[in-house]
Symmetry: C2
Subunit: 488 residues, 2 copies
């Protein structure tokens, strides 16, 4: 490439970066919509608000993420099941707290064909009430326990608030929910520990940092004994984002749905239960946290296309370059998920398109590369370009992907950490970020803190934290800390 | 094993076979329910009739079958998408024929939370009306064509007739639907040809025989130009079973949903469309056709567990046998989908359980086998047992599975063929089976034939058949043949 062209490219790139440096920060909401749209992940033009069409690229990302969930489930001996979408009204009405949590947000099926149904049906918002009447048949004896099942399915929430792709939708297409039954509270506790290990592995794959919060009682899942939640932080939006939840139900549901077993002494007892929920919200977090002003940036483990190869065709050398690009593609495809973009287009628009799709690594092969015996690599996350010797190119790409994954995770982690502010008095409250402050644990103080901080309490760190200070509200000495933030 | 034990086993087996020889024939419906239940494929006790819970084993079979569909789709460059479950009433009401076909069979969502919805929503019975408003945005120019997408999703039919697992249900959990758009009728024709090739490959995997019928006009899909359907025959039930359908829509839907493109001359034209539908009905066909009096029999390609290894533990030799069984399992698992049943139970009940799960091949390893340097194989489809030298056991198992697959397909094919009866006059009509007879092609004759044969017309062979004879009804000379049968 001649120097003039190189300079033009550099300037163009600098301009895009400078221009767009503002974009994500300036108007996060607009940026978020545009990035998803430009990447071709979903089509928002479906004629029901809050219900999106998954287009092929978005679907491939979601499926890849689901495959990691399935791997973790298989490792921990959960079995996959599939329950019907519809739940009869009478099943749903059994657990009072649970209904109260959902009654404003469920879709009701009232007619079959032209006639009203005898029993109204609802589209599951989650599957407790669908599953538990069956669990009471499946669980008979202590030898049936623990029962550990999961499914990845569509669930429905009639959202009245503003919807936002992946984050607040009316149909969650990939709601993961595992449900377990145990002999006692302690064994259910151990399940929560296993869930947290699973989450840790997944968060690593998704390159997402998080705080593990035990939600305050007034904000736990309807019907739960307690709820643990990994929250992350989207700096550009100034908002925390809940990415999953693990609930310990004790025997709250099993008493209602009569899930009992005969213990080794022949005594009938109620099981203790847990659930673990996740969804495409996590994909929303990936977009929101890793994306930059060019659009989405996919961590390599989540990218259906990890490397795209772009032949740089010069006049009279097309056949030679194409041949070399094809040969390299065949070799590379054995090692990583890759694609050769051999469309009859100029390289510039191709670069742009794949950048917007968030593909982690680009390989350029042109006459210069062939003659120099190397290839050119360009990282999506940093924009850094470098040359790599042709004969070691595949292994270098493999290790580059590993490095990108680690760098993205570290960068996101750093960003979250920088946005946590420990305060000792209300007047130290910054305008943005997560607040960390002492809390005596009383609900009255917590609720007043929410009001005065203008932020919701995310809760207290599940594994505790070394802290000595005073309750932000009442000033009482405490060793307990609470996190607070505005949330999606 | 001593002779006495062997004889007892043989007698027991003979008794089971003789007793149960009657079972599938005597009461197919009951046998069908029991077989599915005994295999642990679904749980029918969900509190909505016609909606089943997929338990782990059934789900694994279904997913394996879906994976073959996805492979075929990928081979033929279809892309996977995912549309919302709900369709707005106004979208649905656009195509008149289509509505008429479904209005009695759709579930209506009328309320969100406690309030009635402005626009009623229906649970898709199939996705034409959900997809086509988006297709009109996706297709702009002839360069966007052909558009080939598919999804595998839940669809809902408010069935008023008796439901039957996999065959007639209110929620189809694995409805496969591909939808394509083409520049003209001829290209859509070519798509139907591709669909038929895909079906041929799949039917081979599923070991299912079929007749390819073009449905008579009065029985085609609502809105279609024509429908092609692979029908199979379940001899034990005396009924034909539709396993899939390919529809040529011409521009019937594209005119209504305004799916147009600019051709190479700059002219706007309507696309021609096709669809291809399948579901877990195929699994129903596998159960119904291949099952025997012991329960379901899975063709090896469809079996999540192709081989089960059962250690035959003799007193004082447990460790030795277990060790050998484990070693063999590790080796075998590299080659085929296998499982080692090391539960602390006697072999008899284990045999019985795995037979009822339809696992194609059983391996027995006991002291006798170890000392003889062999293993014992037992085929689920024939019950035949034989010894195989230990050192070639894995490769013999691989080829045995291939043979079982081929034998099952051939057997089913033979059975269907034997049940096709060509008749020249009504008084030759047998009480069971598929009727093959001349037809002039007139609707009036066809409808009368249906009445007098007490069978529905499946249609005419899609690729034609050499035939010279007379219309069964009017006696007019014809070269066209029609098939008729009672159907599920």
């Amino acid at each position: 490439m001649c120097l003039g062209l190189k300079l033009t490219k550099l300037l163009l790139r600098a301009w895009i970066i400078v221009y767009s440096l503002m974009e994500k920060q300036r108007d996060f909401s607009e940026w978020y919509i545009q990035s998803i749209d430009n990447a071709g992940m979903v089509d928002k033009r479906y004629p029901i608000k809050g219900m999106n069409v998954w287009t092929p690229y978005g679907l491939r990302i979601a499926r890849l993420m689901n495959s990691y969930m399935r791997e973790e489930m298989s490792r921990t001996h959960h079995e996959e099941v599939l329950f019907p979408v519809l739940v009869p009204e009478d099943q749903f009405l059994k657990e009072a707290d649970h209904i109260k949590g959902f009654e404003e947000n469920v879709y009701w099926v009232t007619h079959g064909g032209l006639k009203p149904l005898d029993v109204r049906l609802l589209l599951r918002p989650t599957s407790e009430t669908a599953m538990y009447s069956l669990f009471s048949l499946w669980v008979r004896s202590h030898t049936d326990l623990p029962l550990k099942v999961y499914q990845i399915v569509s669930v429905f929430r009639y959202e009245t608030r503003q919807t936002r792709t992946f984050l607040r939708v009316r149909e969650l297409s990939f709601f993961f929910e595992s449900h377990t039954c145990h002999v006692d509270q302690e064994d259910a506790e151990r399940q929560i520990e296993e869930d947290l290990k699973i989450w840790k592995n997944l968060a690593h794959k998704f390159a997402l940092p998080y705080l593990l919060n035990k939600r305050p009682d007034w904000d736990k899942f309807p019907g739960a004994h307690y709820s643990v939640v990994p929250d992350t932080y989207v700096a550009a939006a100034g908002r925390a984002l809940q990415m999953a939840s693990m609930h310990h139900y004790r025997d709250n549901f099993s008493k209602v749905y009569d899930i009992t077993f005969e213990d080794s002494e022949g005594q009938r007892r109620n099981v203790h239960q847990t659930t673990y929920g996740m969804s495409e919200r996590i994909l929303g977090a990936i977009v929101a946290i890793h994306g930059d002003d060019l659009g989405i940036v996919l961590p390599p483990d989540v990218a259906p296309i990890q490397v795209v190869i772009i032949p740089i065709l010069a006049k009279g050398q097309k056949a030679r370059v194409t041949k070399e690009a094809r040969a390299f593609y065949r070799e590379l495809a054995e090692a990583v998920r890759s694609e050769l973009d051999s469309r009859n287009m100029r390289p510039g628009p191709k670069f742009y398109e794949w950048e917007r799709k968030g593909v982690p690594l680009r390989v350029e092969i042109g006459v210069e590369e062939i003659e120099g015996g190397h290839i050119t690599l360009c990282r999506r996350d940093t924009g850094r370009r470098r040359r790599v010797k042709r004969e070691v190119a595949v292994e270098r790409i493999v290790s580059a992907l590993r490095r990108i994954q680690a760098d993205m995770e570290a960068r996101a982690h750093r960003e979250m950490k920088e946005n946590i502010h420990t305060i000792g008095a209300y007047d130290e409250t910054p305008s943005k970020g997560i607040i960390r402050a002492g809390w005596c644990g009383r609900e009255s103080c917590g609720l007043r803190m929410e009001e005065r901080l203008d932020r919701g309490l995310l809760g207290t760190p599940f594994f505790g934290e070394d802290f000595k200070g005073h309750c932000l509200e009442c000033g009482e000495e405490t060793t307990m800390v609470a996190y607070a933030a505005r949330s999606f």
